[in-house]
C-alpha cells in the first residue's frame, strides 16, 4: 500500500515534469519560428515610422557601457519593430568589456563612456582593415549629485566644496563653506555621509574628470574608474548608491539623473560661477555638451568636454557615451545594419527619445557631424 502511494506520487511528479518540459520546448519553438519566417523580409522601409532600414538584415551583436543601456533598449525595440528581420543585440556590460569585444572583432559596434585610448586605437587597426576605430558621441547624460537631509529640499554647491565633501575634508552639513553657498537654508549639525561606487565605473571616472578640471586644487586624484579617495562609504552600482542616499539621512552620492527622478531624491544645484546655480536636467546637460570641442581628427568625433563652462544654464557634470565603429573596414555582413541603426539613433526621432529616458540629446552641431560620419562608414 505504502509502495503504491509512493509510485503514484512519483508518476504525478513525472507527469508534471513532462508537461512543464513540453511548455518550455514549445516556448523555444515558437521563438525560433517567428525568427525563421520573418528572416527574409529585411530591407524594407517600415510604414509606421521614419526608420530607414536600407539593407539591414540579420543579427547585430553589440556590447559595452551600461550607462546607455536604457537608451539602447528603447532604440533597439523601436528599430526592430520598424525593420523586421533585424535583431539588435546590445549586451550591457561595461565600457572596458565593450572595447575588448570590439577589438576582438566579435561585435558590430561598442558603447563606451570614454573615448578610445591611443593603444586601443592601435589595436583596432587589426580589426578595421585599412581604417581604425572611431568614437561617435551618441548619448549624453547629467550625473546628478543626490542628497538626503531632513528639512533641506534644495542645496547649492560648487566644485571645490563638492570635492572637499567627497574627499572627507568637509565633514558636517553646517560647514561654513556650505552655509555660504546656501544663505537662508537651515543646515543641521549633522555628519555628512558620502557614498561612492564600490566597483569600477565610468560614472566615477566622469565625476573625477569634472572635479579634477573644475576644482584642481581640491581634487588631486587621477580620473580613474576606481574611486580614488579614502574614506566615505561604498555601494554597488548606481542603483545601490541611490538606494543608500534614499535611506540614510545626511547622505550625499552621485548617479545618473534617472535614478534620482525615479526615486524622488533631491539633487544638488551646481554653482558654476555663472549667473545662477544650475539644476541637473537633460536640457541643461545638453547645453554643457554644446560647449565641448571636438578633439578627434578625421571622422573621429571624440569630445573634449568643457567642465569649467560658465554658460547660462549649462550643467557641467555630464557623461557622454560614444558608439565605437570602424571608419573603414567594418565587417561586410554587419555594415549595412550598423549604418542603418546608428542613422536612426542619431536622427531627430532617435535623439528625441533620449529625453524621455532621462538622457540628454547630443547638441545639433555635433550631431550633424555624427550623421555625416555614419553616412561615410565603409
Amino acid at each position: 500500500m505504502k509502495l503504491q502511494r509512493k509510485n503514484l506520487l512519483r508518476a504525478t511528479a513525472l507527469g508534471a515534469l513532462a508537461v512543464s518540459g513540453a511548455l518550455v520546448l514549445t516556448a523555444c519553438g515558437s521563438d525560433d519560428n517567428s525568427g525563421g519566417t520573418t528572416g527574409g523580409n529585411g530591407g524594407k522601409t517600415s510604414a509606421a515610422s521614419n526608420i530607414k532600414c536600407d539593407d539591414a538584415k540579420g543579427q547585430l551583436p553589440a556590447s559595452g557601457s551600461s550607462a546607455q543601456k536604457n537608451a539602447m533598449d528603447l532604440w533597439a525595440k523601436n528599430y526592430m519593430a520598424g525593420c523586421s528581420g533585424v535583431e539588435i543585440n546590445y549586451k550591457s556590460s561595461s565600457s572596458g568589456e565593450g572595447i575588448v569585444a570590439f577589438n576582438q572583432g566579435t561585435v558590430g559596434f561598442a558603447g563606451s563612456d570614454s573615448a578610445l585610448k591611443p593603444e586601443e586605437v592601435a589595436d583596432s587597426k587589426k580589426i578595421c582593415k585599412g581604417g581604425q576605430g572611431i568614437n561617435l558621441p551618441m548619448v549624453g547624460g547629467p550625473i546628478a549629485i543626490g542628497f538626503h537631509l531632513e528639512g533641506v529640499d534644495s542645496l547649492t554647491l560648487d566644485a571645490p566644496t563638492l570635492a572637499k565633501i567627497f574627499d572627507g575634508k568637509i565633514k558636517k552639513w553646517n560647514d561654513p563653506a556650505i552655509a555660504k553657498l546656501n544663505s537662508g537654508a537651515k543646515l543641521p549639525d549633522k555628519a555628512i555621509q558620502a557614498f561612492h561606487r564600490s566597483e569600477d565605473s565610468g560614472t566615477t571616472q566622469n565625476l573625477g574628470k569634472y572635479l579634477g578640471a573644475a576644482a584642481p586644487s581640491d581634487w588631486k586624484y587621477e580620473a580613474e574608474k576606481k574611486w580614488p579617495a579614502p574614506g566615505g562609504q561604498a555601494a554597488s552600482g548606481s542603483s545601490g548608491v541611490a538606494a543608500q542616499v534614499k535611506q540614510v539621512d545626511g547622505s550625499i552620492g552621485y548617479f545618473e539623473l534617472s535614478y534620482a527622478t525615479s526615486q524622488s531624491i533631491s539633487t544638488v544645484d551646481i554653482n558654476t560661477g555663472g549667473a545662477a546655480p544650475v539644476k541637473a536636467t537633460p536640457e541643461n546637460a545638453s547645453k554643457a555638451i554644446a560647449a565641448a570641442k571636438i578633439k578627434g581628427t578625421g571622422k573621429d568625433l571624440a569630445l573634449d568636454l568643457d567642465y569649467t563652462t560658465k554658460a547660462e544654464g549649462a550643467y557641467p557634470i555630464v557623461l557622454v557615451t560614444y558608439e565605437i565603429v570602424c571608419d573603414k573596414g567594418n565587417k561586410a555582413e554587419t555594415l549595412p545594419t550598423v549604418k542603418s541603426f546608428l542613422n536612426y539613433t542619431a536622427s531627430d526621432e532617435g535623439q528625441k527619445l533620449l529625453t524621455e529616458a532621462g538622457y540628454a540629446p547630443i547638441p545639433t552641431e555635433i550631431n550633424a557631424k555624427v550623421r555625416e560620419a555614419i553616412a561615410s562608414l565603409s
Binding site: K2, L3, K6, N7, R10, S93, S94, G96, E97, V100, K171, A191, I192, Q193, S198, E199, D200, S201, E224, K225, K226, P230, G231, G232, Q233, A234, A235, S236, Q244, Q247, V248
Partner: protein, 331 residues
Amino acid sequence: MASTTPIDKPPAPPVALKRAGTKSGRAGDKVFLGLSKGSGILLLVLMASIAVFLTYRASLAVSRNEGNFFTTFDWNPAGDPPVFGIAVLLFGTIVSSVIAMAIAVPVAVGIALFISHYAPRKLAAPLAYVVDLLAAVPSIVYGIWGALVLVPYLEGPNLWLDQFFGWTYLFEKTEVGVARSLFTVGILLAIMILPIVTSVSREVFLQVPRMNEEAALALGATRWEVIRLSVLPFGRSGVISASMLGLGRALGETMAVATVLSPSFIISGHLLNPGGGTFAQNIAAKFDEANEFGRDALIASGLVLFVLTLLVNGAARLIIARRKEYSGANA
C-alpha cells in the same frame, strides 16, 4: 526505472550475488561497480581541474602584479601600474567569520541542548523544523533583509557599544556612517550558519548513550550536571565538526556580504566602522567590470580562499581524529 524495485527490502550484499551466480546479478554488479568507481574518479578529476584552473589563471595575474600580493592594501588591477593585494580580504574574511562563530556556536549549542534535552516533545519537533527552515532561505534574501532591516536597526546598539565598550578599541566607532560594517556582516553570517551548527549538534546530542545519562542521574546529578558530565564530552567532536561546516559557509558567503558591507580597502580593528572586504564579496563586486587581467587577479584571490577553506577543513579533521578515541561520535 528505480521505482519498480521494492524499497522495503534491503539490497543483497555483492558477495551473496556472486555466489548466487545469476547472470543478471553479475552484470548489474559490474555496472554498479563501474558507476561508483567512475563517480569517485570524476570527483577527484573535478577537484584537480578546479585547482589547476585556479592556479594557472592566478599565476598569469600574480606574475604581472606590481604590488605585493600579500601585503598591498589596494585592488586596482586596471590601474597603471596594476596593483592588487589580498591582505584586506584575508583580514575581513577571517574577522567576519570569527565574529559569526563567536555568536552562532554558543547559541546553536544552546538551541540543540534545549531541543534534545529540555523541550517537551510537542515543542521540540516544530522548533527543530523552524531552525532547519532558516537554512532554506536563499542568501540574497538574507542580504536584502540585512541591508534594509538589520543595518538601520543596528545603529542604536552600535552607539551603545561605542559609548560603553569604546575603551576595548574593537567597539570604538571612529567614523560616521551607517552600520555597514564587518561587525554587522558577522551578525548576519551568524544567523546564516545557525541552522547547520544547530542541526548537526542536535543529532550528536541525541546519540549520547542513554546508559551514560542514566548513570549520571543515578549518582544524583542534576540535569545540568548530566549535560556537563555526559552529553557535552560525548558531543564535543560533533559540535566541533558542526562548527567547521558553519565556518566553511561563513568563509565563502558572497551575496549577503556584498549586499550589506560598504567595501573599502582598509584594515581597521574598529569593527563598527564601515569598510573592509571579504574574498567572495570582492569577487562578486569586481567581476562584472573587470577586464581579462582583472578577472585573473580575482581568480588569484579565489585560489587563496580555496586554500583557506582546505586548511580549515583539514584542521577540523585533525581535531576530530584526535578526539575520536574519547567519544563514540565521529560525524
